[in-house]
Structure formats: C-alpha cells, structure tokens
C-alpha cells in the first residue's frame, strides 16, 4: 500500500514537472503572466508530491519495512537514527530524490528573484532537468520496459530472478543488509546533501546561459547568474572538502585526495564553474567575452551530468575504490547527457554568429586577456581530469579493456597548469583594478616579486627542497599569495566588500603550498629496526624466501605492550593497551599509543586509533575488521596513525576459526583432550600473569550464607580481579571454596567459575592460611602466550593544516563575492 502510494506520488510529481515544462515553455515564448502563474502552481504541486514521497520513503526506512528493497538494501534494524536518516541518500534512488528536492527549492528562489525576460526560459530549463531526473526514479512500467528504478519497489520487483522470491513474493526478510560500516560516520549525514545541493545549483548558470541564448539578451544574464554560480561553487567546494576530510580522518585511504573518479566527479564541475565565474566577471566589467561565459556556464552543468553518468552507469566499476550499484540506468543517463549537451551546445552554435564579438583584439597585458587565460587554464585542468576519469571509455582508443591512468598522469599534467595559474592570478588582479602598461606593471610588481623571492628561498632552504620543478612551483605559489595579498590590502582600505576575488586567489596560493608540502614531504614514522630493514632493502640486500630481491619497503612497525620504541629519532612511542568500547560499534577496540618527545623536552600525547568488526559483513566464523585512524592535527604537521593488526584481533580471529571448525561435525574429536589445566598460587594483594590475563587476588571472605547446610564447615569466596592484558576493563570473579562433612569425612567443594567471553574456567581449590595465599586451578588457558602487540602504521604529514586553510580562504573569498554581487542585485530592484 505504502509502496503504491509512494510510486503514485513520485509519478504525480513527474507528471506535474512535465506539465510545468510545457507551461514554462509557453510562458517563455508568449511572455503571458497567466502561463507563469499556472506553471508555478504546477511546479509547487510537483514539490509537494515529491516532499510527500520523500516523507514516505523516510517512513519506510524508519519503520524498518524490509519488504522494500531500499530499506532492505541500505538499512537494518539496529541502525542509529542518524544513519537511518542518512540512508535516505545512501542509495542512488534516494539521492536522485534529494537532488530534485534541492532543485525544487532553488526553483522557488528563481521564481521569486529572477526578472523578465530570463524568468521563463530559466524555469523552463530548470524544470526540464528535473523531468530527466524524475525518469531515473519513476518506476513506471510500459510493457516490458521499466522507466528508472523506483525507490519504492519491493524485493520481489527488485530481484525478479531470485528463486525464493519467485515462490513466495510476499517474503519479508527479518533484517536488512545494513549500511556499509565505512559509511557509518557523521560525515555521511552532511557530505552527500551538500554535494547534491552543489549539483543542483550548478544547473542555474546553465539555465541562465540558455535563457540568454533563447531571448538573445547576451549581457544582463551574468548579473543574475553570478551570485548563484558563486553559491554553487561554494557548495561543491564544501562538499569536496568534506569528502577529502572524511577520507583523511576516518577512512584509512592515507590522504585527502586520491584522484578517484568519484572525487573527480565533483572537482571537474567545480573547475568549469570557476572558469565560468571568471568570464562572467569579465563580461560584467568589460562587456566582452559573452561567448566564453555562456560556453563555460553550459559546460559546467554538462560536466555535472557527464560525471553523474560516469559514476552511476556502472562504467567505472573497475576503476574506483567506491562501489556502485548499477541500476540499469545506462540508456537514460546517456539520453540525459546527450540532451543537456545537445540542447546546450546546439543552441549555442545556432546563435553563435549573432553573439557579440569584440571589435579589436585584447592586448596581452589586459585584464580581459589575462583572465581569459586563467579561465582557459582552469578549463584545461578540468578537461585533463575528465579525460583521466573517462579512461574506461576513451582508453578504448588505445587498448582493449583499459585500466585507469596512473596517478602520475594527473599530477604531471595539473602541476604545470597550477604553476601557470599561480602566476596568472597576480597579473590578472593587477590588471583588473587598474589599466597599466608593461612599465607601470613592472614597477608595481617590484616589491611583491622581491618578497616572493625571499619567501621562496627561505622555503627552499628550510624545507631542503632539491627539485628544480618544485622550486618553480613554490615561486608561483608564493607569488600568488603575496601578490594577491598586496592588492587585497589596498582594496580593504578602499571598500572591503571588493576583496572576494583577491581573497580567493590568496587561498589558492596557500592551497598550492599546502598540497606540495603535504604530498611530497609525507614521512613514514618507523622504529629504527624497521628503518634499518628498509635501508637494507634499498641496498638490495634483502631477499625473500623465493630468492628474489625485496623491493617493497615496510611501512608499519610492531609495538609490544609497555615497551617504548624510538621512532625517527623524534618520538618515544609506547603501546599502553586498549579499551573495549561497545557503545558505538560492538566489539570496537580503542588503542592507546603514547607519544613522548625522544629528547624528553616538550609535551606528550596519546593517539587513540580504533579497530572494529564490520558487522554488516562479518559472521561468527569470519570476522572482518575495519580500522579508524586517529589524526593529531598540528599547526605544522599532522600525525596520522592507524592500527593494522593486534594480538587481540589475532586472538579473536583464531577463536573465530575454532568456531568455524567446531561448526563442522567432522572435526569433533579434537575437542575433548585439548583443555589444559594449570595450578597457580597467589598471595593476597598480589597480581600474577595467567596466560593473556593478569590476575589479582584482592581478598577472601567467609560466606555466611543460609543456603549452606550445617555440614559445611568452611565456605570462602575469593575476590579476584581478572584483566585481559593490555585492556583496561576487567572482570570480578568470586569462586567458592568450601569444606563440608559427609559420613564423617571432610570433602572440599569448589565449583568452576567461567571467565566471561572465554572458553575457560577458574576453580578455587585450596587455602594456605599460613602463607596467606590461595591455590587456583585454571582450565582452558594457554600457559605460554606472546606479549601483547600492535602493528602500527604512522605517518607524519606536514602542513595539512595549510591545505585546509587555503580551502577555507577560497570559500571565504567566494562568500564575500556572493555578498557583493547579491547586494548589488538587490539594490537594482
């Protein structure tokens, strides 16, 4: 029932959006207010239906209705509320819904704030993209063909080939598959929505550019579109930043950027959108470059759709660490892409002859030319990244079954571009605010260049930079920082709201510095023995059991409990034990790795990386562990550390293997004889090691319990504390020792007490009052255990903070620009 209503709502919204498209088209053609009103109502109704459908989907998720594929596939009944809500956009169907929801909200804003003659076409194109998005989730059956994948489809509809569903279509699973453990992170709450906000806002420059072409008003549109485009850029940048930060601090990817197709998918539209912003600003200032700003505005959205196609069609399945569910939307996504590109570029070239051209060419030293060059650099970076991401498609020109390009492809091509962009930001800014010739520019730049050289030299000396290429890069980055800062300083004194551009450019320069420092000077933290081993590998002295020379260096080290090791001559590192924390993720261990300065001066700190079993994919006989690194953020460098193995994890795995063996009846015979018994004596107040445990005998007390009959002469309970070594949680055990008289003879009675969580027992077998000690008999614990250990991978990453600072300044700069342009637009009305 709910499913039917849900699909009905989605398709009612779909229908409304189709009608609204027609209405807006008529309004755009005839400029009759009546059509505008009707279309707005249809658009609003579409929004209502969609909201209702979203509410129903959320209801299905929250009430665990696992007969629905979406709830089954992305949630489970033990999921916390926040992850249940995140599951709404955890799958493709829901994320399409979220995308349309944001787009609808933006539509209301555009209705309110856009003026004629652009209003009609803008809303027409916005609604048109929504129609395409609706086709992805409609789920309407036309004969054998199903349009899109409905979020409300049942299990039986989603898996028509599964035999158990064919025989029993009303089958309801007991529990869902659950959200992937790696996605159970607070970032999952915020990263995807902001990304889709960015995607939907990127539609706006496209709509305005198309409206300009339609209405042949090629100039004023940029005033309207600029604040929106800036907003789209901030949203995308924030999403990229959050994604990078998420990857860095909670996934063990080892860094914030990996040129993964999914990361690229949001980066390319951002680059093209930024190129578009530059051209729009020039068009506003100088009434030139209409062609370029329209082209970039179109291409930015084409990039959004193209990257959506790449990531959602299943094409990239082999080349990304992300996994994609292939919903069979391939053809629809192609159609969407072809339509957006075809309509966009088609209209652009149709009107091309009519578009204003410049009377005379811009000089090399002009803000028009320099800014255009800057945009082209951004565009080319975008193109290169898009090319790399497209390797499964375009790579077929070269080889069959192509692999993704090596990471060096991206780095080698973007680095010279970034250097060029760094220089262009300063030249462009100097020309932007004042017309100058080469001579006056050279004079103005004397001091910035001098300071840049000093800063670069200082960096080279302090950082020990040897690479000539890096030196050039540093020069460009410092030049961008210093040159733009000088201009920013001048602008602040004139009118503070004008600094958006320069602030962003300063941020860009700082970002460049941070990227180089954090990626090229990343250092593994290793103990001296591992370092010696690695040196031996470097000298080619190590061979493996096959007799081959080992070439792969080791980048992890073993730490034994409470045995400090000196790493990189810098820190004294001690493994201090672990805590079992069951609240957040059952079975999670939090390890304590203490860092002290090796020379004893300075402060110490404790890193707390975590390891947890992946519940959605583990079973009793096979536990899959996942790691959650800990990052200590510092002003100059971060320490990034995760535990890649430990004696605790190994024991648990061994236990799981035992379990798996027990489950097979064939190996039953080995069970009985393996239990070994050991007797220990322990004095009061003493702690002794027993296998992997530390056992403390606190006290004993006589039991005056009425349950014992008179025949019992002595009844004593020992008060024991048992701690698994390394762990800081312990259990209390109170084993009983009693002596009773039966038939005139004394008998002792000491029942075994189970150690919780282990297949072992303790019996209190005897008392030695003269020594104050007791004897215990322990069954099922190995006597010889190795010392507790952890395997640690640690890296020192310099100046990650600078990367974040650069990103924040970029965001701040864009935000200031939004205020400035929005402010101006409001004053016009």
């Amino acid at each position: 029932m709910i499913g039917f209503v849900g699909e009905l709502f989605v398709n009612a919204a779909f229908l409304c959006s189709i009608l609204a498209v027609v209405g807006y088209f008529l309004y755009a053609q005839k400029e009759n207010k009546r059509y505008f009103k009707i279309s707005n109502w249809l658009f609003g109704l579409q929004g209502l239906f969609l909201l209702a459908a979203s509410g129903l989907l959320l209801y299905i998720i929250l009430t665990h209705q696992f007969n629905f594929y979406y709830a089954f596939n992305y949630t489970s009944s033990d999921l916390q509320l926040k992850y249940l809500i995140s599951a709404f956009w955890g799958g493709q169907e829901g994320s399409f819904m979220l995308w349309i929801l944001f787009s609808t909200l933006i539509g209301f804003g555009l209705m309110r704030w856009t003026r004629e003659p652009y209003r009609g076409p803008v809303l027409f194109f916005l609604t048109l993209t929504q129609v395409f998005l609706f086709t992805m989730i409609s789920g309407i059956h036309i004969g054998d063909f199903t349009l899109g994948a409905s979020p409300f489809r049942t299990l039986a509809e989603a898996m028509p080939n599964a035999p158990f569903l064919q025989s029993n279509p009303d089958f309801v699973p007991e529990d869902g598959k659950g959200l992937n453990d790696l996605l159970k992170s607070p970032w999952m709450m915020i990263h995807p929505p902001i990304l889709f906000l960015g995607f939907s806002m990127m539609t706006i420059p496209y709509c305005f550019a198309m409206a300009a072409l339609w209405k042949r008003k090629y100039n004023e549109w940029v005033d309207h579109a600029l604040p929106w485009t800036l907003g789209a850029n901030i949203a995308l940048l924030t999403a990229i930043f959050l994604g990078g930060y998420w990857a860095y601090v909670t996934l063990s990817f080892g860094g914030y950027w990996a040129w993964d197709p999914v990361e690229n998918a949001s980066f390319v539209p951002w680059l093209l959108g930024t190129a578009g912003i530059h051209m729009m600003i020039i068009q506003r200032k100088s009434s030139t470059s209409q062609k370029a700003s329209i082209a970039f505005a179109i291409l930015a959205y084409v990039a959004v759709v193209y990257e959506t196609f790449l990531t959602r069609s299943g094409i990239l399945a082999d080349s990304s660490v992300h996994s994609f569910v292939d919903l069979g939307l391939y053809n629809q996504l192609i159609l969407f892409m072809v339509a957006v590109t075809g309509i966009g570029l088609g209209l652009f070239f149709y009107r091309y002859k009519e578009l204003p051209t410049q009377d005379k060419e811009s000089k090399f030293l002009s803000r028009e030319f320099l800014t255009f060059s800057g945009s082209m650099v951004l565009f080319l970076i975008g193109l290169i990244i898009a090319l790399g991401t497209s390797s499964p498609v375009i790579g077929r020109l070269f080889v069959e079954n192509p692999t993704p390009p090596e990471v060096s492809f991206y780095n080698e091509w973007t680095m010279p571009m970034a250097i060029l962009a760094g220089f262009l930001t300063v030249l462009g800014q100097y020309m932007f605010w004042k017309k100058q010739d080469a001579e006056s520019l050279a004079e103005e730049l004397t001091w910035p260049v001098a300071i840049t050289c000093v800063a670069t030299l200082a960096t080279i000396m302090i950082g020990g930079v040897r690479d000539l290429y890096y030196m050039l890069y540093l020069l460009a980055a410092w030049f961008a920082v210093i040159g733009n800062s000088v201009i920013m300083w001048r602008l602040i004194r004139k009118k503070a709201l004008l600094i958006g551009g320069t602030l962003s450019h300063v941020g860009f320069g700082i970002l460049l510095l941070g990227i180089l420092a954090s990626s090229a000077y990343n250092e593994n933290l290793l103990s001296s023995s591992v370092q010696q081993y690695n040196n031996a590998i470097e000298r080619g002295e190590v061979t493996d059991e096959q007799g081959f020379q080992v070439t792969q260096k080791v980048n992890l080290m073993e730490l034994k409990l409470n045995e400090p090791k000196i790493i990189n001559d810098k820190y004294k590192v001690t493994y201090e034990g672990y805590t079992l924390k069951d609240q957040a993720r059952p079975g999670q261990q939090q390890y304590r790795i203490k860092f002290e300065p090796a020379d004893g001066e300075g402060s110490q700190f404790v890193m707390k990386p975590e390891v947890y079993p992946m519940l959605s994919s583990s079973s009793a006989s096979n536990i899959q562990w996942s790691v959650d690194p800990d990052v200590r953020t510092g002003l100059f460098s971060d320490i990034y550390l995760y535990v890649s193995g430990s004696s605790y994890v190994k024991r648990k795995n061994d236990e799981a293997k035992e379990q798996a063996k027990k489950a097979q009846p064939a190996s039953m015979e080995s069970q009985t004889d393996s239990a070994n018994v050991q007797k220990v004596t322990v004095k009061r107040g003493e702690t002794i090691p027993v296998g992997p445990f530390d056992l403390t005998f606190n006290s004993y007390g006589e039991v005056s319990d009425s349950t014992f009959t008179d025949s019992v002469s002595v009844a004593i309970r020992a008060n024991l504390k048992l701690t698994e070594r390394g762990s800081d949680s312990s259990v209390s055990l109170r084993p009983l020792f009693s002596v009773y008289t039966q038939d005139g003879e004394n008998w002792s009675y000491s029942p075994p007490v189970t150690i919780p969580g282990h297949d072992a027992t303790i019996r209190f077998t005897s008392v030695d009052p003269s020594q104050g000690g007791i004897e215990l008999s322990i069954t099922g614990i190995d006597e010889n255990v190795e010392k507790e250990w952890v395997l640690v991978t640690a890296e020192e990453k310099p100046f990650i903070s600078v990367v974040w600072l650069g990103t924040f300044l970029l965001m701040a700069g864009f935000s200031v620009s939004i205020f400035r342009h929005w402010d101006r637009e409001r004053k016009k009305t």
């Binding site: 090319l387 790579g395 792969q552 096979n622």
Partner: protein
C-alpha cells in the same frame, strides 16, 4: 587564414596530441598472470582462491594470498601491507604490480565489492515473523 588563428590551431593540436599520447601511455590493459610477466605495473583481475591459506606474516610483514585470474591461472600474490578492508567480501580483486618468478608482487590492490544482488543466495535471507507482513 590569419597567422594568429594558425598559431592557435597548432597550439591546440599540439597540446591535444601530447595529452592523448601521454594519456595513452599512462593507461594499460587488464592482463592475466601469464601476460603480466615482464610488465611493470600490470593490472590483474581475479578472484580469491579460498582453497588456499591467506594471511599476514608477522616476520616478513607481508600479506599473501592466492588469486585466480580470468584465464584460470592461480598465483601467489604478496602485498606489503596488512589485509585490506573488504578483502574476503570482494567478488573481484584487482592487483597492481609485477610478476617475479611465480609470485606476483602487488603494490596496490582494489577490492570490488558485489553490487548486484539479483542472484543473492537465498540462505542469506531470514524470514521475519509472519505477523510483521
């Protein structure tokens, strides 16, 4: 034709061909273990051979397992890092590295997790109480 346009065209053609040339060099094709011998950075796709042991060795600090490539060749693969997340779950594994003798030395590994559930094993499903439906 204006000289400026000519220069522009030459620049674009030059840039594009250099880019495509470099791009073509930086991608390779997925191969099997036999084709991988002698290659640097070979990409091999395969499935985990669960009949053989796999695990991390504390002595050599290496993770080793047996992979069956798409041509059916089974080879031992060593990887100088601990067992990656999702390892057993993966329905396909891509290893990137080179062959030395009969052993593949992987520098990188990608786990491909199952994404289609259309043929899910029925035993994975547990029926809920009848009252629920």
């Amino acid at each position: 034709m204006k000289p400026k346009v000519l220069v522009g065209i030459i620049a674009i053609v030059g840039f594009t061909s250099l880019l495509m040339y470099n791009f073509g060099n930086s991608i390779s094709t997925y191969v099997n273990f036999e084709q991988a011998s002698g290659m640097e950075g070979a990409h091999v796709v395969g499935t985990l051979d669960k009949s053989k042991d796999f695990g991390f060795s504390m002595e050599s600090k290496q993770f080793s397992f047996h992979l069956k490539d798409q041509a059916g060749n089974v080879r031992r693969v060593v990887y100088p890092k601990p067992k990656p997340n999702n390892f057993e779950q993966a329905d396909r594994i891509v290893v990137i590295g080179k062959m030395k003798g009969d052993v593949f030395y992987a520098n990188d590994m990608l786990m491909k997790c199952p994404s289609k559930y259309n043929n899910t094993d029925a035993s994975q499903f547990k029926q809920a109480n009848a009252s629920k439906s």
